[in-house]
């Protein structure tokens, strides 16, 4: 690792100030960033630790939405997000217990790994990502592999998820990394169904709109039968070809619908 200093602000305002320094970077739970630093793939001179910021903690529910602080760990979501059980279960399925005790919602969404779980939940739920500067709709937030709408030094302070009538997340685990080889999140709202897919596409998480239309008209596994997702643009690697991933999308979407019945 290259050398750097760690700052430990206790408010978002202090963190924003510290991040005005061009060579500074946010440190969430470190579960992605520390391995990256070890490989010398990043060289910040200052890390601004967000874990001591009380404003970024806590989970609250009001008017059909659940609001979760950007600094809340996966384990705390797994225990504390009872109002949105599918989201709690998704958090409880990330990595292993030690990773879940450190990794955070904000860190996962800021990183936008193409195989990460939370991006699928945020996109399928039509979540709103609140930063220190603005609110960003999930549809505008995810901009490709490891790319988001966040500006340099912008902090994910909280995320609000509208709670659906029903939801299911089907994760086909890649056993070596414990990330999703493919994951499909289906969420059913009064005004329609949203389907988000992670782990499959080179551009990262995306909505499968054909399936959304079919399921909004007829919410049954049969409604998906005639559909198939094309393999173009899908990730192909030693763990699975692009065709295999494309095939899994439909299989997992059907499983999600059956799971919700």
């Amino acid at each position: 690792m290259y050398a750097f200093e760690i700052e430990r602000p206790t408010t978002v305002a202090q963190a924003v100030e510290a991040l005005k320094n061009e060579v500074a970077q946010e440190l969430g739970g470190g579960q992605t960033l520390i391995p990256t630093l070890k490989q010398r793939l990043a060289a910040p001179e200052v890390l601004v630790s967000l874990s001591g910021i009380a404003e970024m903690q806590g989970i609250s529910v009001s008017e059909g939405t659940i609001l979760i602080g950007g600094g809340v760990t996966h384990d705390d979501v797994a225990i504390g997000a009872m109002a949105y059980p599918t989201l709690a279960a998704l958090a409880g399925g990330i990595g292993d217990p030690a990773v879940r005790n450190r990794g955070t919602l904000g860190g996962s969404l800021a990183n936008n790994d193409p195989s990460a779980c939370y991006p699928a939940a945020a996109l399928a739920s039509g979540a709103t990502i609140t930063t220190n500067a603005r609110e960003i709709q999930a549809d505008d937030y995810f901009q490709g592999m490891f790319e988001t709408a966040l500006d340099d030094g912008e902090i994910v302070v909280a995320v609000s998820f509208p709670i659906p009538e029903g939801a299911s997340y089907q994760k086909f685990v890649q056993p070596a990394s414990r990330f999703a080889l493919v994951g499909v999140f289906v969420a059913k709202y009064a005004d329609g169904v949203r389907v988000a897919v992670t782990g499959a596409a080179e551009e990262g998480v995306f909505r499968w709109r054909e399936a959304e239309a079919a399921l909004s008209a007829d919410f049954s596994a049969a409604a998906l039968e005639g559909l198939s997702h094309p393999a173009e643009g899908m990730i192909g690697d030693m763990h699975g070809s692009a065709e295999y991933r494309a095939h899994l999308i439909k299989v997992l979407a059907s499983r999600a619908v059956v799971d919700m019945a």
Binding site: M1, A3, E5, P97, A98, R178
Partner: protein, 153 residues
């Protein structure tokens, strides 16, 4: 450099540390607590698992500076006050839950956390919880047996 002070196995520990110093290195090199092992250094194997404020973390994936004000417990803090093996450690010994022993400190630390949260886990729950602890000797069957016996006693 940052000043950091924490409690390790109930004793105060203080130091001036570089930002990049990992908790695993702080424990081993600064404090001489070499029971915490470093197997992979890439967050995969769990030999470096310790408790921070009672929760399992991979000490190779946390900076020492981030343990400021926290209670850290390592394998050295696991024995009974008279120095004899704790229930869980004794169960690993009785059931041959170790071969080379390299993964054992992390396995024990994870087991302590599991049984605190779930005193009567099923075999599936045990295997699930230990997902992040890898045994290069692949001694998993006896590790699971040791944990089942510790849970039952």
């Amino acid at each position: 450099m940052a000043k950091v002070s924490m409690s390790v196995n109930g004793k105060p520990a203080e130091a001036e540390v570089e930002g990049r110093l990992l908790l695993s290195h702080f424990l081993r090199d600064n404090l001489g607590l070499t029971g915490t092992h470093i197997g992979c250094d890439t967050s995969q194997c769990g030999t470096c698992v310790v408790h921070v404020d009672g929760k399992v973390v991979k000490s190779c994936t946390m900076f020492a500076a981030e343990a400021e004000g926290k209670e850290v417990t390592t394998i050295e803090g696991m024995a009974n006050p008279d120095g004899s093996l704790s229930k869980i450690q004794a169960a690993f010994q009785t059931h041959h839950g170790l071969q080379c022993g390299f993964c054992t400190p992390g396995m024990v630390m994870s087991t302590v956390a599991l049984l605190k949260q779930n005193p009567d886990p099923s075999e599936t729950e045990i295997r699930d919880y230990l997902e992040g602890n890898i045994c290069r000797c692949t001694g998993y069957h006896n590790i699971v047996k040791a944990i089942q016996s510790a849970a039952a006693s």
